[in-house]
């Protein structure tokens, strides 16, 4: 019994964290929904589920990179709003889309640079960035409006070979992230740096000869770029720029990452866990809407599940 519970909640030595239990929760919710309501298994609902979940999946995967090395990025919500505002400025798509990623890269470099070179706490650095980006976004676009290039809209709404486009966005995100986390030296260094931070030896990775500053900056760049990708996706869905579309999105992303078993102290976590975490949240929202749960109690249920999942995780040390 203890063996099973340890397997479920992530063994103490595990680098992946607790992801099996969230997966079981996901399957349980899906099963329960398909028994409860006939609509859940309707193709239409399942088709809606993917685009509903996608922005969160993309942002959470990006957020996972900085959380793995013991950081946190609170600026992703503003980054999403900023991206939609830039896309709605008007202009050819082949200019706007690269611009968005260049700007996201700059934001990420700035975040990482401030954190590594000036020794500022990630929460403060990215919180300031959140304010600054939100301010700039509101200058660009005080209220929602403008139109997004057609390419972006069709890249989100259309379908290819009978499969809706959002599915490809998901596959692309997961493939890129998989390569970065599990198929590159950078991924190993992520775990090394985060493991050091979480055991209180911040210089551990540095002393092993890992270029920790460069890797940290890179993680923040990746996080900002994934947020920009989510912003492009959302812009395609709402067809315009909206300064408030990303509001509080960073909290949802952190929640999804945490539900997936990634530890906020760094060093422990997994890509599949993060994707599962984001799916849990999307399924919950979808299921509660289908079963006519009052939208006002949904927030409480979301918070309670987060609390439950976090309370179940075993940790050696106290901390953030």
């Amino acid at each position: 019994m203890t063996a099973i519970s340890r397997r479920l909640t992530g063994a103490r030595g595990s680098r992946q964290g607790m992801w099996l239990l969230p997966l079981l929760i996901t399957v349980a919710i899906a099963l329960w929904l398909s028994l409860q309501t006939k609509q859940f298994l309707y193709g239409e609902n399942l088709l809606n589920l993917v685009p509903q979940a996608m922005p969160l999946v993309i942002t959470a995967v990006g957020q996972m990179f900085v959380i793995l090395l013991g950081g946190l990025d609170l600026s992703v919500g503003s980054m999403i709003s900023f991206t939609t505002a830039v896309l709605a400025l008007g202009g050819p798509a082949w200019v706007l889309i690269p611009t968005v990623f260049v700007l996201a890269g700059l934001v990420g470099v700035t975040n990482g640079f401030i954190i590594t070179r000036f020794n500022v706490h990630p929460i403060i650095a990215t919180l300031s960035m959140q304010y600054i980006l939100l301010g700039v976004t509101r200058v660009l676009r005080p209220v929602s409006g403008g139109t997004v290039p057609d390419v972006v809209i069709s890249a989100v709404a259309g379908s290819f070979l009978g499969v809706p486009m959002p599915v490809f966005w998901g596959i692309f995100t997961i493939l890129v992230a998989w390569k970065l986390v599990y198929g590159s030296r950078f991924g190993l260094h992520l775990f090394a740096i985060g493991g050091g931070v979480s055991s209180g030896v911040e210089d551990a990775a540095h002393n092993l000869g890992i270029a920790d500053r460069r890797n940290i900056v890179l993680a923040y760049v990746i996080c900002a770029c994934f947020a920009a990708l989510a912003g492009i996706f959302l812009a395609g869905r709402i067809v315009s720029g909206d300064p408030n579309v990303g509001l509080l999105f960073e909290l949802d992303a952190i929640t999804a990452v945490a539900i997936g078993g990634t530890q906020l102290s760094g060093g422990i976590g997994s890509l599949h866990g993060t994707v599962i975490g984001a799916l849990v949240m999307a399924l919950l929202a979808n299921g509660m809407n289908l079963t006519n749960v009052s939208p006002f109690i949904q927030t409480t249920i979301k918070g309670a599940i987060l609390l439950l999942v976090v309370a179940l995780q075993s940790r050696k040390k106290m901390g953030l």
Binding site: A125, Y131, T299, G303, A311, G319
Partner: protein, 308 residues
Amino acid sequence: MRRLLRIPPAYYVFAVLLLILWVARPNMLNLNVMGIFVRQIVPLGILVLGQLLVMRVRSIDLSGGGVILLINYTISSGVFPGASMIFLIVLALATGLAVGLFNGLMVGVRRASAVIVTLAVGIVLVGFVQYLSSGKPPGDVPGMFGDIYNTKLGPVPTPVIFWVVVSAALSLFLSRTVFGRYVTSVGENVQAAHFSGVPVARTVVLAHTLAGLLAGVSALVQTASIAVGSVRVGLDLPILAVAATILGGVVFGRGEGGVWGPFFGVLSFALLFVVMTTFGVDEPGKLIAQGLIILLAAIFYGVRSRSS
């Protein structure tokens, strides 16, 4: 020079903003005008006292917004018709205490992630209020709260004096009691504290409980200040409290700024608001300036702490 650099950034920001105001709008600098502006920031000021306490034991509390919202709703919606003011105050403090104790047990004993636990508690409380209110704004706050809030002692508004007194009490509490020593030693090094016989878990639980209590107090002041209930009040306060605390020189585990560093961190937020309003900066400009000032102050402080 070295001594000068040890001073938390909040004091510099405060001094610079005061100088700007003194040069540009000298007539603003009188007790009556400043009193009104400072009075508005008192709820944040009291919340910061709790925040600095938990941050000194290497934790964080993001649930303050939920506590403020719940207490504000309970008082203004008339769930307890005809309740006396004493009852409402006791209820508010008990709510804060209970939430703080729960946070403390989860973080200190269960060792769950402090960011996630307090965030989730905040989400649950906010959701609970949304459920109770169905999104509709509640009614008026009993008049007595506003009456007390609007009193003055000489030229200084009572809430400001209250804030200073509570801060002074916490400062004494941290410097003169055994618990204060425990807080410092847990912040310096958790393991060393543990092996020296400091009850680490109990210290963390107590710090969180006190922070919850202070959030309850902050909620009472916030409620008294707005007269009409709201379902959105106080939601951005916890993250601002973290920023003010760090500006004041209290970073996770390090308490160089004491209580007065964060105190001036909050004061500089109030002053920043005054300066930007008098210069007619619009809302996006305010956000950008706020971000830049927090960032620059933190960079300045970060550079210093690395070189020492």
